[in-house]
Symmetry: C2
Subunit: 514 residues, 2 copies
């Protein structure tokens, strides 16, 4: 087991660059100049600074590679690709004692970034005597098919194997091979994942119950498809997160869209907005600015943690409270755009080190999550006139579809995820067909609205925290952890212990029957 | 609903041509001239005569078509293909009464042949008020991708989408669309299938529990993979079926292999064997003859029904008893090959109308099941020196692999099925993750050895009949049905009724909660 030492070259390679949601200029526009529809927010925001050395030093793992089939579900003779995975066996009690294997379902980014942001798994591994494995999701990080990112992302054909089903098959093939090589075929596998990774963990437990004995699916919006939950859910939750801190803050934001659009229509208005928002480049419309602001609010709701954190951006504890404090406490003479700028600076510039701001408006947008959103991960989103502080948007599937065609030459399959994994009427379906999944959610997290929030059965459990945000339970513990978070994690540990001990008892029974 | 009328043109098109297992001349040979390994027997034998008109007249259905994606698991832009399905809604009580949908999982052949050989489903549909749907399996019958059988079977690339996973996705997409179009989204789907179709039914219930509420998986050897059951199981059961009728019969067959090989080595020996076995063409080795005989015994064991039947061949009731009677009662002066000929004539010529026999030795063997056996459906088979009446064979994977490469330029994936569907330690896995599957088996059926023969839980039930053969429960009822068969079917009906009524209660609870 190689101990991690902060190698500057490696540090450079693990820089994660995940773009902020933004409407690229190519997006279909309404006559007003605003986008025709509201795209689903991403799970992860821009993260363009390397993992801090002190954060990384807490984690020890080996980096290994495994050759995977590009298509598990056909017998086409395609080139294999190298999947990266991180592994630590320091705490593992080994096969004789049926030592568990903790498998994190890698999501849409560099796996090292997820590894160092999933402290919970590392912290509990020793008490479980567990091996820790973090496989990277295909088409992300170093796990690129076809030799390079450029080749893998060349077109719809090369991207066509970037799907959740293929990723789950990757995890299954990897862990089956790994167990065989370690003579650990009988060792129980427990799945972990947050956000899209949490969806993968839940789906993997459902689709591959013979591979893993249970799953902790944190902030996994597996119901955010088709018409299972109302499309306005996400933005309503974001809006409520602001409203609960301050109604005047909520109202200022709600009024700001019109104020910004009006300002932009004035002579020199765009120049004025460019100055107000300290943009590095002159704005040529208000569309991208509005998107930049909307992104900030959505991400703030996701990471509205009760203590300072740097998950996506360095932020104070209760960051929405701080945003609203700044908006509300701006001097009386401040215009609405000026107030808004003060507020979002909490998100984009809490350290105060950013001199000017760049809008992300990648005209190609050919990143992995955009592809996934344009194929399987079709999550309808709208913004309600009354309950949302965002601009009003209806869900417009045909505009969305058109944009996907323009961007990737691909047709989305909006009904496929529920055909493959279910979702409709999930209680009835899983009540007597399924076990050992924890759906954990913090209700401040806008993704909680598309997650499982009610117990389905004794072993399909919903753990909810009123004050939690996006998979806070998976984060490393801090001295500032509130009591409800300590309790939530203790319950998770107890449930996982239950799965493992039940499994061991069953195994012993089988062995003693032989 | 169109009533069936025996259209001679249509009759012609539905001729099913499924080849008998046989070692094509290209198979790897031992120094003795015998094949290096024992290929897994097929589920279905040669069936080259049309469905008899009187059999067909009992079944009414419409024939329809549905456009399916060639690859459900990638976003490659491939041409869609037309899947055929048969449908009958005459008895269906409709969506308001949550009328059930009986879905037969089409297996490796023409779907009309399965429809008219699955009388049980048709007979019970009226009492359930059920709709009946028989979708055809891709790459079989009329459901050919790429425009024609020739194109679909051209090479490993064109065949690469012939997999069980794709077939299950076809069924899922079809039934989801059908239910939506009939405003029957809430109607419960019950799966049926026999043999490979039974495997598909069980796997579909396991992988798509949100699509179907239960499955009757008849004679489904889902454990006939890797090392889950001993490889000699199949031929041991066939052998026991003969032994139970007559030990001398078993011994004659066991001795016959050597006798035939010895005869073939004599001068004019092959000419003599050609005459003894009334072959249409002169034999040029004993390999194909031995294979022809082995096939007959395997199929006889599968269709060792207690009443006359014509499932694969027209046969008397208890056909093995009749084979053994003829072998044992041959005149004393008859040679072993002559006795054997008398015996297998029961299988190949019970009607007495066949003048001479053709060995099937298609040198290409490019049929669908051969492809499936060479890719996913890798079922290890051997023949044990002591317990089997067949020649002794070890399981030789590398010879098998080599043959697949020669034939299709494809590499088998012998571990894939269990990665995808499980199988190892199935009791522990499914005990608390699964429900509503009936595994029905007759113990005379050699495939029963690879099936689930023990109850897994209260709702994962193994129904066994000592005297049953290959999915006899799915066959049309006859006046000669023995009491154990009547009882088995009654239990199946009761279990299915239980699934449906439980489902309806859950639905009512959900509706009354709204």
């Amino acid at each position: 087991m190689a101990t991690w030492s902060p190698n500057p070259l490696l540090l450079l390679t693990i820089i994660v660059t995940i773009a902020v949601i933004s409407s690229p200029p190519s997006v279909a526009l309404q006559p007003s100049g605003l986008p025709l529809f509201k795209r689903a927010p991403r799970f992860l925001g821009k993260y363009s600074h390397p993992i801090p050395t002190q954060l990384r030093q807490g984690y020890k793992y080996e980096t290994k590679y495994f050759y995977q089939r590009l298509d598990h579900f056909s017998f086409l003779d395609l080139p294999k690709f190298r999947q990266r995975y991180l592994i630590n066996t320091d705490y593992w009690v080994g096969p004789d004692r049926l030592g568990p294997i903790f498998l994190y379902c890698g999501n849409e980014g560099d796996i090292e970034w997820f590894a160092v942001n999933t402290g919970f798994l590392w912290e509990i591994a020793p008490r479980f005597g567990a091996m820790v494995v973090f496989p990277e999701h295909r088409y992300y990080g170093e796990s690129m098919p076809l030799g390079s990112r450029d080749e893998a992302y060349r077109n719809a054909s090369t991207l066509s194997y970037l799907t959740a089903e293929q990723a789950l098959a990757d995890f299954t093939v990897l862990i089956t091979d790994l167990k065989r090589n370690l003579s650990a075929v009988d060792c129980p596998v427990v799945l972990f994942g947050g956000s899209y990774g949490g969806m993968l963990a839940a789906w993997m437990r459902i689709k591959y119950p013979h591979v893993a004995i249970g799953a902790l699916a944190a902030s996994a919006p597996i119901l955010q498809f088709e018409d299972i939950v109302p499309p306005e859910t996400f933005y309503d939750i974001v809006s409520n997160d602001f409203k609960r801190e301050s109604i005047s803050c909520f109202n200022t934001i709600k009024e700001s869209w019109n104020a910004i659009v009006m300002e932009g229509l004035k002579e020199n208005g765009l120049a004025q907005l460019t100055e107000t928002f300290r943009m590095c480049r002159e704005l040529n419309s208000t569309v991208a600015l509005i998107d930049w602001l909307e992104s900030a609010y959505s991400y703030l709701a996701m990471v509205d943690y009760p203590y300072p954190s740097a998950f996506m951006m360095p932020l104070p504890g209760h960051p929405i409270r701080e945003v609203c404090r700044r908006i509300d406490n701006s001097p009386d003479w401040a215009s609405i755009p000026e107030r808004i700028f003060e507020g979002v600076s909490v998100y984009y510039n809490y350290t105060g080190k950013v001199g000017c701001f760049e809008l992300d408006d990648d005209p190609h947008g050919l990143d992995g999550w955009n592809w996934q959103a344009c194929t399987e991960m079709v999550m309808p989103m709208s913004s309600n006139k009354d309950s949302s502080m965002f601009r009003t948007y209806d869900y417009n599937y045909s505009a969305f579809r058109e944009e996907c065609w323009k961007k990737f030459k691909v047709d989305p399959r909006p009904r496929w995820i529920t055909m493959q994994f279910g979702g409709h009427d999930i209680k009835t379906v899983l009540e007597n067909f399924g076990s050992n999944i924890i759906f954990s959610n913090g209700l401040l997290d806008p993704w909680s609205g598309g997650s499982v929030l009610q117990n389905i059965s004794e072993s399909l459990v919903a753990l909810i925290t009123e004050e939690g945000a996006h998979h806070i339970d998976l984060r490393p513990s801090t001295p500032d952890d509130p009591h409800w978070l300590l309790e939530q994690r203790a319950t998770e540990i107890k449930l996982i212990e239950g799965w493992i001990s039940e499994y061991r008892q069953q195994k012993m029974k089988v062995i003693s029957n032989i």
